[in-house]
Point group: C2
Chain length 219, copies 2
Amino acid sequence: MVASTPETAAARRIELRQVDKFALRRTELAAAALATLSEFGYARTSLREIAQKSGFSHGVFHYYFRDKVDLITYCVREYKAACVAHYDEIASNATSAEQVRSSFAEALASSARDDTPMHRLWYDLRNQSLFDTDFQADVAEVDDSLERMIWRIVTAYAAFAGAEVVLTRSAVYAVFDGLFQQALLGIHAGNDAAVDSLREGVRQVLPRLLQNVGRESTD
Amino acid sequence: MVASTPETAAARRIELRQVDKFALRRTELAAAALATLSEFGYARTSLREIAQKSGFSHGVFHYYFRDKVDLITYCVREYKAACVAHYDEIASNATSAEQVRSSFAEALASSARDDTPMHRLWYDLRNQSLFDTDFQADVAEVDDSLERMIWRIVTAYAAFAGAEVVLTRSAVYAVFDGLFQQALLGIHAGNDAAVDSLREGVRQVLPRLLQNVGRESTD
DNA sequence: ACCGCCTCTGGTCAGCTGTCCAGACTTCTC
DNA sequence: GAGAAGTCTGGACAGCTGACCAGAGGCGGT
């Protein structure tokens, strides 16, 4: 780094403060956008609707975001940060396999119950990435970090159980993601047992992804 | 039914013929709509785009379908018919557990490979049902019939293996659906191994959903 | 040959969407 | 407090969307 003259140092300080305020506002607007997006879904959410629900004018969104894609991309990243942080303590705080299993099942179940709109938005946006290349990179990155998160939990569980995980990281994620998504559909359809089914499904599946060390599976 | 006079019989015959032609045209238009929908996704497909790609005028779609929802609902039903019929022979033609396992894994893998656009549309529309009640009933019906289809295959597998399925019907479907969807994301991201991973994932998961009759699982 | 119904066309309309922008307002610096 | 930079507003615009409709064309029945 080059040593700064007083002027450039002051300018940088100002600039940083402005950048912080700018970033803060972006986050605030993105949070408002997330709220509306999770309510109506990608296809039915316009910038004007977001603005109206957030109390801002629709113009301000174009001041802080290049375009709609830029805004939603930022929202996806925000989602990831909130989501991964929430689960990461499961693996680190546990002291036994059974505790990991219970915590994991409960965490998925309560998240599906409490954050239903946000999760359905995630699946919506992930699907959009199958059609629109704009979101593809960011969605893939979030999906990957979710996959790693699940993998951390499952390998922690396997370590406590003294066993090995038989599936690939990707397949393990896919299995729990499928259970989660089905629970979301169930919740939305008014099936009161959906959350309990998810918890029970996770509890039942988790041990079956392991095999004792040194034994070969039938293949 | 009331006995028909000659006139009403003729009228009915005509009417039936017209109904057939009408239904035929509906199916034809729905097929064209499916093609465009699977290319662009729900959010980015307009009736005019569908019409242009199909060679019809945009007006004709309003003649055969009440509105856009009516059209897409019909498309969903068409999808189901095509999809379920394709898989149903797996369970009925098999003679051993291993054969069911191989056929099932191969069927999922090749379907993901060959019908990628149609499947991503299905997931798109299923997600729309989480936001828009218009599709909810029909989507739920298709999802249920897919669930039953998977269940038939898995129970057939269990029967050949002389074992029981430990998960609920819904959880079994969720697991394979998750694997399938992850493969779709992989394919779209250009991951060449995605199809093979799906096949291998299905092969590995399937036996682990069973337990020997008479033995209790750890719970 | 004529008539009535079915089919289909393409124009029109109101409403919404993303984007841009001129200008008002606020905040900060000197 | 003057000026500049940053922030925000709301109107304007072009393009698109779903829906509607008047009328042309075709087909079958008599």
